[in-house]
Subunit: 264 residues, 2 copies
């Protein structure tokens, strides 16, 4: 009995520290819970879900509608464990090292472009309540959530934002949110600490110039406009490849992790 | 005693199945080996090395000279465990799904670009003997290895290569290897099964047109030449972002994992 208890404690500790999910004992009462957690099936699943996540982050896996159902626990553990925060921190620390290395010329309009959702602000609470990306996107439901204006800042993004301002770098925000969400967005940003920026650009749904266009096309067109206005885009950060690829790209771009959804 | 033995067996099994390294008991005789393997220091290290690897794969961390010394065991486990193979397989399976989805027009010169090192052929044996990327690159030593012409194929790349040929897609190989390695390279490729390609392009060191230029500049210039010659580049695959980014890009590009070294 002592052995079993010790085994269970060790297994639980290791499983938790490796972000594994132990809550899988319901279907099969014969296999003890603490052993089942380490079955080869679990191991295989985590290996494959890790490959899936890497595929998404490297732009190899594109246009996915939902997170694969079998990866729900894996993605939940990714966010609730330490890995997601560590990954985000690593990107933002690299971004700051780059910014610091620049020879900033005063008044030269050096500009850093930020995306909003999953970059400045986090919707993780929304997705946590809806299966961590495994449920198809519902625009009505999502817009209701956005309209609450209660999104928290990604802590490391806020730090970078303030550090860039201190370096005399201008901020331009380009979001795929529509102009109708302008007011609530600015309020939400203000409340969590994003208060100073040279530009904030919404996907103008009134003029419909970007109707049917991808976010990639919209964002590169807006970056081009910024360049024409005299902004020198030295940095760009977003959670989607469509935030940073294309033309009029920044001198250096940074891709924040986001294995929850895909925006073309 | 029975408990300790059981704990050790369980710990070893779990550690191995999670690609952890148990061989760390040398410095400290007080902490038992099987417990030390799961210390928080190890956990923290693996989290941070995982973030480092993701940073490299997503082009956030660039121009690194060596793999961080503290990540040597992590990177070794990545290659000797199942994750590296699974990651590679996921990319190549995505690439094939894309190729299959195309409406291939006979005689339309649809072309797929391949890189050689860490894409068609693997140097993992070389790096395994030299600290898994933690030792600075030595060109003389590396060229000696290449000149042996004994590199194995990446099995999943060879599969994709043959499947693309079967789909009537042409192959173009662009490598940063110099023209002086032309003969041994072709021989090596032939011996492991890469026998049919429309083009093989080496970084021409004689004309010195690319001297001092990055691989990115060389490769995009060569892709542009291919386009002018009538090749329609529908796919491109490499282990470095410099293989696929820039202009004259393929309709879709694929980034194979490589946390060992960086080529600008």
């Amino acid at each position: 009995m002592k052995t079993i208890v010790l085994l269970f404690i060790l297994a639980t500790t290791i499983a938790t520290s490796h972000g594994l999910d132990l809550d899988h004992g319901k279907e099969n009462k014969i296999v003890p819970r603490e052993l089942k957690a380490f079955s080869s099936a679990h191991y295989e699943r985590d290996i494959r879900c890790s490959s899936w996540r890497l595929g998404v982050e490297t732009n190899n896996i594109i246009r996915f509608k939902t997170v694969p159902a079998k990866c729900k626990d894996y993605i939940r553990n990714y966010f609730l464990g330490d890995q997601s925060r560590a990954d985000t921190k690593a990107v933002l620390s690299e971004a700051y090292s780059y910014a610091k290395s620049l020879d900033i010329i005063k008044g030269a309009n050096y500009t850093w472009v930020f995306d909003i959702d999953e970059t400045l602000l986090s919707n993780i609470e929304y997705y946590a309540d809806r299966g961590f990306g495994t449920i198809p996107h519902n625009a009505t439901d999502f817009n209701k959530w956005i309209e609450k204006g209660k999104l928290p800042a990604l802590p490391h993004s806020l730090k970078l934002y303030n550090k860039l301002l201190a370096l005399d770098i201008k901020i331009a925000i380009i979001t795929e949110r529509p102009e109708t969400q302008h007011k609530i967005t600015v309020k939400n940003l203000w409340n969590v600490g994003y208060r100073k920026y040279a530009k904030i650009i919404f996907k103008d749904t009134k003029k419909e110039i970007y109707k049917g266009k991808t976010t990639l096309v919209y964002k590169l067109a807006e970056r081009k406009k910024l360049e024409k206005e005299g902004f020198k885009i030295i940095g760009n950060i977003g959670d989607q490849w469509s935030d940073i690829l294309g033309t009029s790209t920044a001198v250096r771009s940074f891709k924040l992790p986001n294995p929850l959804f895909y925006v073309a």
